[in-house]
């Protein structure tokens, strides 16, 4: 059987087995496994477990704050990478310190940091808050939640070093980063499964998305190694996209759908669409991301050889079919998000919601673009390969980062117990981040288009316009760096000086007015000033305010 079908079938079988185990447990071994797992999460760590207090919500908070700080590093690496595409010697003075980065290595470091430093940490961090809420219990081990976040951060450091120098003194640095990351991820999975095992409510769909997202990565990697697919080009490509479709897409969808409902107060619009997002995310091939499996090759080091993509007899048709089908979960997710955020009334604005809106609007056009580029590469034509880097950056900075950052920002008060320091700063952070990413990468893509046109016209002389465009694109992308700084400062200060959530709730409830009797013509401002809200019912009353008149009943 061909590689693609074999991998997909085994992936589905692995997930189905995981589903059965979650629902039915391990027969008579369930209690033993639970107590042993809990022991491994806390007691087995010895004095390490006493380094943190383990207060409620501390696990989610640790992951989200570290994810925000990694956002600055990710934006900086990507900005430098974009700059070096038009000025390769800009950082040559650092070579005296033994650091000679290239545009490719910096963009690769930026991608690792954005995906594993920020997006993953937001997904896991928000998940540590969401799953216990949805299943009606507490997180099994807050202490382990905090400690595993530092282990994960450690792995991101290895990935950044490895992106610059994959092998140092014959040691595969990226492989070490992957091993550390798997350790941290395993503890997160065990923590979440133990939490689910103590559930008091049925598992809601966003929680299933998060669980399958977490399980998708280890299952895909294990299958890839066991079947030998990791040594072939198409196997590496498949592994990359299975992780993209499960961990990144389903993880992002899970936290975004939950946050869209929780932060606006609107019910999730459609359970069926959420179900289609979950099943479709697992059953199809997500086209977002790179056009090769080089990330898998790098991260699995000696286990995977660099290989070109060669398709078997039916592989091409299967890949094209499953990628086209991925539009179903994408559209289901985008539609559900938009209508849930809007609700029955006006759209709610606030920190995080605008970011989620941006990611929701852009997920469809970027997926269409990615589908064209992926199909072109898989078909062996390669005419659109020049656009793959810019599209990959768009998927990261205009879909994954806004959705996960937005969800984390909107859940921030519930997780930390305090509000962000300033809503105004959050708005500035959004505009800088969104504007920088949108304009910066779009202009870079225009330069890529011109380059492709020149190559097809066999023009050898470089055109100054392309250089200028790349320069403008990289400078515009600097807005993302500024946005990351603003968000980081706002979130960190909010932890200490943000208004307590209870204070706001108490204040708002004391002035809340369910109905307002309108006795004479007045302005909306006066109605709102008297304590009415958007949901207050305005009741016209036929009585006069004039002195001396009797009230008409």
């Amino acid at each position: 059987m061909d590689t693609v079908l074999t991998m997909m079938l085994l992936f589905w079988a692995g997930l189905f087995a995981a589903y059965l185990l979650i629902q039915r447990g391990l027969w008579i071994f369930t209690d033993v496994a639970k107590s042993m797992s809990l022991f491994m999460l806390e007691k087995a760590l010895g004095p390490g477990a006493d380094l943190v207090e383990g207060r409620a919500g501390s696990g989610a908070k640790a992951w989200i704050i570290q994810g925000t700080i990694w956002l600055l590093a990710a934006a900086t690496f990507t900005f430098e990478g974009l700059w070096l595409t038009h000025d390769p010697n800009a950082l040559h003075s650092l070579s005296s310190w033994g650091y000679s980065p290239s545009a490719a290595s910096l963009i690769s470091a930026g991608e690792y940091t954005a995906l594993y430093g920020s997006v993953s940490m937001f997904i896991i961090g928000a998940g540590l808050h969401i799953i216990p809420k949805l299943v009606g219990t507490k997180l099994a081990s807050e202490k382990n939640g905090v400690l595993s976040s530092f282990l994960w951060t450690f792995s991101v450091l290895f990935l950044i070093i490895g992106a610059h120098a994959p092998i140092i003194l014959t040691i595969p640095v990226l492989m070490i980063g992957t091993i550390v990351q798997i350790l941290a991820l395993t503890s997160v999975i065990v923590n979440q499964l133990l939490t689910i095992s103590a559930r008091t409510a049925t598992i809601a769909l966003p929680a299933w998305m998060l669980v399958f997202g977490l399980l998708g990565e280890p299952i895909a990697v294990t299958l890839s190694i066991l079947t030998g697919a990791v040594t072939t080009g198409i196997g590496q490509w498949m592994t990359y996209h299975l992780i993209g479709g499960s961990f990144f897409f389903l993880g992002t969808s899970g936290i975004a759908l939950y946050a869209a409902s929780a932060s606006t107060g609107n019910a999730l619009w459609s359970k069926v669409l959420a179900g289609v997002t979950l099943v479709g995310g697992l059953m199809t091939i997500n086209p977002l991301g790179a056009t090769d499996g080089s990330m898998v090759t790098d991260m699995l080091g000696p286990l995977a050889d660099s290989a070109t993509i060669e398709l078997g007899a039916t592989d091409g048709v299967t890949v094209a079919f499953l990628m086209a089908l991925s539009f179903l979960p994408m559209i289901a997710f985008a539609g559900n998000m938009m209508i849930t955020m809007r609700g029955n009334d006006a759209s709610v604005e606030g920190a995080g919601i605008v970011e989620m809106n941006l990611g929701t609007w852009l997920v469809i056009p970027i997926t269409i673009g990615a589908l064209f580029v992926q199909t072109d590469v898989v078909a062996g034509t390669g005419e659109l390969a020049g656009l793959s880097n810019a599209l990959s950056l768009m998927a990261v900075w205009l879909v994954l980062v806004p959705l996960t950052l937005g969800a984390s920002l909107s859940l921030y008060p519930a997780i930390t117990g305090r509000n962000l320091l300033s809503q105004n700063r959050a708005r500035w952070g959004f505009w800088m981040l969104a504007g920088g990413a949108l304009f910066g990468i779009s202009i870079t893509m225009i330069a890529d288009f011109i380059d492709m046109a020149l190559i097809s016209a066999t023009v050898e002389d470089p055109v100054s316009l392309v250089e200028e465009l790349r320069k403008v694109g990289s400078v515009m992308f600097y807005g993302v760096v500024i946005g990351a700084v603003i968000h980081s400062l706002n979130m960190i200060s909010g932890l200490f000086r943000g208004v307590l959530v209870e204070t706001i709730a108490a204040n708002s409830s004391s002035i809340k007015s369910d109905s307002y009797s309108l006795t004479s013509a007045t302005s909306v401002r006066r109605i709102l000033a008297s304590g009415a809200g958007l949901d207050t019912e305005v009741v016209p009353v036929s009585q006069s305010d004039e002195k001396g008149n009797a009230t008409k009943l």
Binding site: E80, W83, N89, S93, V485, L495
Partner: protein, 92 residues
């Protein structure tokens, strides 16, 4: 009554809140500094600034790309995050 000569009622007071207008004095100071630097070049044309003119050539050939201005911004941002984290955690 104490013989130490120090009034026991004497207290040093420092407010926790920063007055909103204090930045005006900082801006005034920066503007005055630049004005005097300009005045220096007018009063002593052709004469290089002491210390600064001998330090700057050290960096020629190192910061010779515009990217360094942006990296300087990143460093300011990174240090402000670290500074905020430390200050917020240690302030009362």
């Amino acid at each position: 009554m104490s013989n130490s000569g120090i009034d026991s009622t004497e207290k040093f007071l420092q407010g926790e809140q920063e007055p909103a207008a204090s930045w005006v004095f900082l801006a005034l100071g920066v503007v005055a500094t630049f004005s005097f630097l300009v005045m220096f070049s007018l009063l002593y044309p052709g004469q290089e600034l002491p210390v600064i003119s001998s330090v700057l050539p050290i960096f020629s050939g190192i910061f010779d790309s515009g990217i360094w201005f942006f990296i300087l911004g990143v460093m300011v941002g990174a240090f402000s995050i670290i500074g905020t984290l430390l200050l917020e955690a240690t302030s009362e």
